[in-house]
């Protein structure tokens, strides 16, 4: 196996995630795009871990998964707050502070 096949796939996932974060209006869809970016990062960690035969990469991947879980938890709590306060889940409509 070549290392670049994994790295390019990981880069692709990350960039698709970036695109999603920029263009998505719905808060839940933005969270899903962030998950895509994290999946790309994890693939990178594991590819390098396998290439260098170093367990540290695996451990970092586990930490990324744990932090992603925490991030989804807090993120969705914010979505609930926004949804309850404004009745929308659309980031474009959150323009209370616009003059």
């Amino acid at each position: 196996m070549q290392i670049i096949q994994f790295l390019i796939l990981a880069a692709f996932l990350f960039c698709v995630g970036v695109y999603g974060v920029i263009v998505r209006k719905n808060s839940v869809l933005v969270l899903m795009s962030i998950e895509l970016m994290l999946a790309g990062v994890n693939l990178n960690f594991l590819a390098f871990s396998a290439m260098l035969n170093d367990t540290a990469g695996q451990i970092f991947a586990l930490f990324v998964i744990a932090i992603a879980a925490a991030e989804v938890g807090v993120g969705l709590a914010l979505v609930i707050l926004i949804f309850r306060g404004f009745g929308v889940s659309d980031f474009n409509e959150l323009d209370e502070m616009k003059g």
């Binding site: 196996m1 960039c15 719905n26 839940v28 795009s33 594991l46 035969n53 367990t55």
Partner: protein, 165 residues
């Protein structure tokens, strides 16, 4: 260049993941986006298995099923669960976003190809459960404990944010 079974498996799974990832960011139906995300996550787990990282692969499965299911539920809540997409979920930044993403991808790909073009490798035993557990509970014990504190903090924070009274 001769292809090993591993390379063929990689190609098939990677193709599925690419299609599913594009689906996540383009479909206007939140439920379909969640299902595409399931496909990407399952594909990632399969890639981890190719990289001989079996423990991380199964952790990915067990953690992300819960995560995706919860995303599903929130999708149902915030969109009132329409069967068909009622409105576009994409804003007017589509071209800016596409240019940014493509430029970033080009940059990454150029760097990666430049650095590792001919590097071939065979996964070793760094991904076995035994190796991970012995490192996790010796060298990484402090980060491990910190992660559990962070999860507790996130848990309390989420409850504090979302409770009604």
């Amino acid at each position: 260049m001769n292809l090993s079974p591993h390379d063929v498996a990689f190609g098939i799974i990677a193709a599925g993941m690419v299609i599913a990832a594009i689906g996540v960011v383009t479909t206007d139906n939140v439920m379909h986006a969640a299902l595409f995300l399931v496909m990407v996550m399952a594909g990632s787990a399969a890639q981890y298995l190719l990289l001989a990282a079996e423990f991380v692969a199964w952790v990915q499965v067990i953690v992300y099923i819960g995560a995706v299911v919860i995303l599903f539920l929130f999708g149902i809540m915030v969109t009132r669960a329409p069967m068909r997409a009622t409105a576009s979920q994409t804003n007017s930044q589509r071209f800016v976003g596409a240019i940014t993403a493509l430029g970033l991808f080009g940059l990454f790909a150029a760097i990666v190809v430049d650095a590792y073009e001919h590097t071939r490798f065979v996964p070793g035993d760094a991904g076995t459960t035994q190796a991970i557990s012995s490192e996790l509970f010796t060298d990484f014990i402090v980060p491990f404990e910190l992660i559990s504190l962070l999860l507790l903090g996130a848990l309390v924070g989420a409850v504090a944010l979302a409770r009604k009274d």
